[in-house]
């Protein structure tokens, strides 16, 4: 990619989406836009840039979408997975000692890094989980993204961000330039297409919900609505994990923060919030007023 093409793409992405790429993200652009240009029947990035300069708005939209969505990597942010191993799983194991089944939902499963990170954690805890049935359901809005997740095929760059080398060696097979996660780990994750704005009660009840870095794209009212619906399909002693920049505080009483574990929440005992969004809306004003 030539420096002028890179600068053109950087500026376009900044203007169109707010995405702010630093000067050294050529690989990121290449990994996303080379496949896109091929799909569009173009020769590569120079060709793609030329078509956009000539005014192809549909290409611009595709480029923005390809660059802004699904930014994810294995064990992203690390801390939530420490919480999972050290706080969540020990409690859930005790609480489900009789039922011997645990259900986990990755509500923004994206290209699979998060559900497979959880699957690897669970595999590593196998000895404590004897006799347990563990289900991981990964959902995403995009069918294309889910297909990538199902395939479990990752580039060399993707497997080097967040994934310890020991886990790469243990749970992946090298196929050409790519790395594919092993069939036994893939089989631990079920995939479903799902829009969080729609009813998701058909998924059943969950002990653990990972809903990270997706609510940031929604307005307050929608967030409140989703939190309340998440609470309804969560076991009363379940766990909710949010992204680093996300919180329930000031939005809903359905969940309360877990002490000293950032990003970790549990349903409130009272289960106070069962009201439709219209009745909840005044809370926003109250929160904004500093309550």
């Amino acid at each position: 990619m030539t420096p002028p093409d890179y600068e053109y793409l950087r500026k376009l992405l900044k203007d169109q989406s707010g995405l702010d790429l630093s000067a050294d993200k050529q690989y990121l652009i290449e990994s996303r836009l080379v496949p896109l240009s091929r799909k569009a029947g173009l020769q590569g990035i120079p060709d793609l840039v030329q078509k956009m300069k000539n005014g192809s708005t549909s290409l611009v939209a595709q480029v923005v979408e390809a660059m802004t969505t699904n930014e994810t990597f294995f064990f992203r942010d690390k801390i939530p997975f420490d919480h999972f191993r050290q706080a969540i799983m020990p409690e859930v194991l005790k609480a489900r000692a009789a039922r011997k089944s645990i259900r986990i939902w990755c509500a923004a499963g994206s290209t699979g890094q998060e559900p497979y990170s959880l699957a690897m954690c669970i595999k590593e805890m196998e000895s404590q989980l004897a006799g347990f049935r563990v289900e991981i359901i990964a959902t995403d809005l995009s069918q294309e993204v889910l297909e990538k997740s199902k395939a479990g095929l990752y580039s060399q760059f993707e497997v080097q961000r967040g994934l310890p080398i020991q886990l790469l060696v243990k749970y992946f097979k090298q196929t050409g330039e790519f790395w594919q996660i092993n069939p036994d780990i893939r089989a631990m994750v079920q995939h479903r297409q799902l829009n969080l704005l729609h009813d998701f009660s058909q998924l059943g009840a969950f002990d653990i919900i990972f809903c990270r870095n997706v609510l940031i794209y929604f307005d307050q009212e929608t967030k409140i609505n989703i939190f309340n619906r998440l609470c309804k399909i969560m076991e009363p002693d379940g766990f909710l994990v949010l992204g680093a920049a996300e919180t329930v505080v000031g939005l809903t009483d359905a969940f309360k923060p877990y002490p000293d574990k950032r990003g970790l929440y549990r349903p409130n005992d009272a289960r106070a919030v069962r009201a439709p969004a219209g009745l909840v809306a005044p809370r926003i004003a109250a929160a904004a007023a500093g309550m």
């Binding site: 050294d24 690989y27 690390k78 080097q160 310890p164 080398i165 060696v169 090298q174």
Partner: protein, 125 residues
């Protein structure tokens, strides 16, 4: 300040890696091959070694085996950084005492992720 020994026969790679590591607050010592690296370690053990595999005189693997036999040589974190990206090489390196493994090409994010992995730098909060 922690020290990192950057071992690569390419001066360009050494320069790129050094710049990334200096930003992460490491003091850098450079070596062009395994033999030079071993001499540097005999003088003073670094906290970390970023290590190429294929080099003249002594390769990265031979160097690591020798380093691990020095008094206190089990302490430095060794992170390979090489175009040898086959699973056989990775397994061999881990088995012989490597702590992490970077497959070239690499960038700042990968170096930071791997150094976090082995506890050389703190994860961003």
């Amino acid at each position: 300040m922690k020290t990192c020994l950057v071992v690569d026969d390419s001066s360009v790679i050494r320069k790129i890696a050094s710049r990334i590591l200096e930003e992460m607050n490491f003091q850098i010592v450079e070596a062009e091959d395994g033999a030079q690296a071993l001499e540097a370690c005999k003088r003073e053990l670094p906290d970390a070694v970023l290590l190429d595999w294929n080099m003249p005189v002594m390769d990265g693997f031979e160097f690591m085996v020798a380093l691990r036999q020095l008094p206190g040589g089990d302490v430095p974190k060794v992170v390979f950084c090489t175009t040898e990206n086959g699973i056989d090489h990775i397994s061999k390196a881990l088995h012989a005492g490597a702590n992490e493994y970077i497959m070239k090409p690499f960038d700042k994010d990968i170096v930071a992720a791997k150094f976090q992995e082995v506890g050389l730098i703190e994860a961003p909060v």
